[in-house]
């Protein structure tokens, strides 16, 4: 139907290696991009700032984790720690007087360096044991953050972020914050879309599928694993810095705790490993639905005249969040991206169904 392949011919390599081979995909991407550009004029500022902005920044972060977990196949349970490194270094740099553009890059590079340490664990073990090591590293990082006042900002363990300023412009309006987040998310998305067209992306996929088979093909799996960790950590660092600069305004160690690492991994897996649109959907589901359900329960119980304990209400989002992970994994272990892919494949040959397997 919408995704019609009829009339789409790839007669040369250039056209065959386009990002969007199906016109409908390109049109959808352009439509979403235009909607993102126009969002400040379409949505009230409450929705813009408390839903759209975190959604975009977390999507950028989730795409970074997807690079290392989805593309390179390395489990990573310490992603929030890497984000924390970026956030704290960028904010310290900005407080020191470094322009924000450079502060963000410093944050990203600092994250890359620390994130590559995680890669050395990946050089030794994989699978479950890698997950456990990165989890332990996350605890070490948490400990360092909470126990060094020089980093976390003194007795109250919070660090005020200075006013964000990019290209000589102070950014203080909601719209401004939104566009910064939007710009970063678009950049990361374009990088990830292009990744599968490059030698790097193919090498990462080869390492994921079987590292010694990749080695036989001449792919240096050590090098590409470190590269994957460094690149994803850079994305994590800048995302973490932007998260604090445009959303929290105050950096605190709890913002980058183990629970957050698990949350980002949940976003990636619920979205679908290696799927870009899946990351968008996964973040939306994990970030927004629990609050939504809570609102519905609170509203519903009020209109029905039932009394629900305040404490119960406070814990419902958590229960819903866990239930969402379980349910999505039961329905489709490959995530929302795969569900979207199924619909797309079906529409591609509609009204026939020979693509269904």
């Amino acid at each position: 139907m919408f995704y019609r392949l009829s009339g789409v011919h790839h007669a040369n390599y250039v056209s065959d290696s386009r990002i969007f081979k199906v016109p409908a995909d390109r049109n959808l991407a352009i439509f979403i991009f235009l909607f993102g550009l126009a969002a400040p004029f379409l949505l009230p500022s409450l929705y813009l700032n408390s839903y759209m902005l975190p959604w975009l920044i977390w999507t950028a972060a989730a795409l970074g984790l997807n690079l290392v977990t989805g593309w390179a196949g390395q489990l990573h349970l310490g992603y929030a720690a890497v984000m924390a490194v970026g956030a704290y270094s960028a904010i310290h740099a900005a407080r020191f007087g470094v322009p924000w553009e450079f502060a963000l890059i410093i944050g990203g590079l600092a994250s890359s360096v620390i994130g590559s340490l995680f890669a050395f664990a990946a050089l030794r073990v994989k699978g479950l044991y890698l997950a456990l090591t990165t989890l332990a590293m996350q605890f070490v990082m948490d400990w360092v953050l909470t126990h060094s006042p020089a980093i976390s900002g003194g007795s109250h363990a919070s660090l005020q972020s200075p006013t964000l300023a990019l290209l000589g412009q102070d950014i203080t309006s909601d719209t401004g914050y939104y566009y910064v987040a939007f710009g970063w998310c678009v950049l990361v998305t374009i990088f990830m879309l292009n990744l599968k067209r490059t030698g790097l992306g193919r090498a990462l996929v080869a390492v994921r599928e079987k590292d010694f088979a990749a080695a036989i093909l001449g792919v240096n799996s050590f090098y590409y694993k470190i590269l994957a960790f460094a690149a994803s950590s850079f994305i994590a660092g800048v995302s973490g810095a932007l998260l604090v600069a445009t959303f929290f305004f105050l950096a605190a160690p709890e913002q980058f705790s183990v629970a957050v690492s698990i949350q980002v991994l949940a976003m990636v897996i619920v979205g679908g490993l290696g799927s870009i649109i899946g990351s968008y959907l996964g973040v939306a589901l994990i970030l927004l639905v629990p609050g939504l359900v809570n609102g519905i329960v609170a509203g519903g119980s009020q209109s029905l005249g039932m009394q629900i304990n305040v404490e119960t209400l406070a814990h419902i989002p958590n229960a819903v969040y866990g239930a969402l992970i379980v349910i999505i994994l039961l329905i489709e272990p490959l995530g929302l991206g795969k569900l979207y892919g199924n619909i797309r494949d079906y529409l591609m040959v509609w009204p026939f169904d020979q693509l269904r397997k």
């Binding site: 030794r124 949940a266 229960a319 866990g322 379980v326 272990p333």
Partner: protein
């Protein structure tokens, strides 16, 4: 260094370590049968403690009745979790199974707190808080009881693995394809291992609930349980007990040395360091099998 003080630290550390073993035994039971790293053990422990509380304090049953009843309920819950959530993921990549157990953990924690509320409650086992002196060494009574329970469970499982059902479980742990072909129901065996781990979670929940109160913090013991399980070898119950003692001693004595240097709170750091070093140096742990795939 005062020798009496040092041995006091070591003995109390070993007792605490045996309490971590309570956690680790649950992890090992499931990992042995199905190679599933059960990160939901913390959530299960919390549910176990809250169910005991609900039966004893809310429903007014005496503790000696409430605890076995809770064990029966948790047995069913563990069986159910395996049937509904884990069986459909069999054969999937470990990342999805890991995420499933993490999701279960979050769900169990959220649901428990939504039902019973987050304020810390006490278990009131009736164990006296008076210090117990063995010679010059001061020992906490409840830790002693807990260590006894851990060792009791260990002996019980050793005996259980000699029974007919236990031998089936061992066969499944060894090679599930072969077990299948000789007519052992692998599904039921794996389900049973989840049920047994949930029963162990009741024991851990009761003892830890008595020590630090029944609240969300119970599930934070997961890192220590995991470290003990990995250090002992993920598929060895004996390993879980020995590693528990070792980790407890290292943690207690080490933190006493390190705390003045780094300004307190070095326990977490030591546990994380032990976990990282174990995985880096000897991923199969002290007593685990050597079939870990290295890069």
């Amino acid at each position: 260094m005062d020798w009496i003080f040092l041995s006091e630290l070591a003995i109390n550390g070993a007792l605490t370590g045996l309490l971590y073993s309570l956690f680790a035994i649950g992890l090992v039971l499931i990992y042995k049968a199905s190679s599933v790293p059960n990160l939901a053990q913390g959530g299960l422990t919390m549910v176990g403690a809250y169910v005991v509380l609900a039966l004893s304090h809310d429903a007014g049953l005496p503790l000696w009745l409430a605890i076995p009843l809770a064990a029966v309920i948790m047995f069913g819950l563990g069986f159910g979790i395996e049937r509904v959530a884990l069986r459909r993921l069999a054969g999937r990549p470990v990342v999805m199974i890991l995420m499933m157990t993490l999701g279960l953990d979050i769900f169990l924690r959220g649901t428990t707190l939504a039902i019973w509320g987050g304020t810390s409650r006490s278990m009131e086992l009736g164990v006296s808080y008076d210090p117990l002196f063995l010679g010059d060494i001061f020992v906490s009574r409840i830790h002693l009881v807990g260590a006894g329970v851990a060792i009791g469970l260990f002996v019980a499982f050793m005996l259980f693995f000699r029974s007919r059902t236990g031998i089936k479980l061992r066969a499944i742990a060894d090679d599930y394809m072969a077990s299948w072909s000789v007519g052992i129901s692998v599904e039921r065996g794996v389900g049973l291992s989840w049920a047994l781990a949930s029963v162990v979670a009741v024991a851990a929940g009761v003892i830890w609930g008595e020590i630090q109160g029944v609240d969300q913090a119970l599930s934070l013991l997961l890192l220590k349980g995991l470290t003990v399980a990995v250090l002992g070898g993920l598929d060895s119950i004996l390993g879980a007990v020995v590693a528990g003692i070792i980790l407890g001693i290292i943690e207690n004595v080490g933190s006493d040395f390190l705390d003045p240097l780094v300004g307190g709170g070095s326990r977490e750091l030591i546990v994380a360091a032990v976990l990282i070093l174990t995985v880096m140096i000897r991923p199969h742990g002290l007593f685990g099998r050597h079939d870990i795939e290295r890069v």
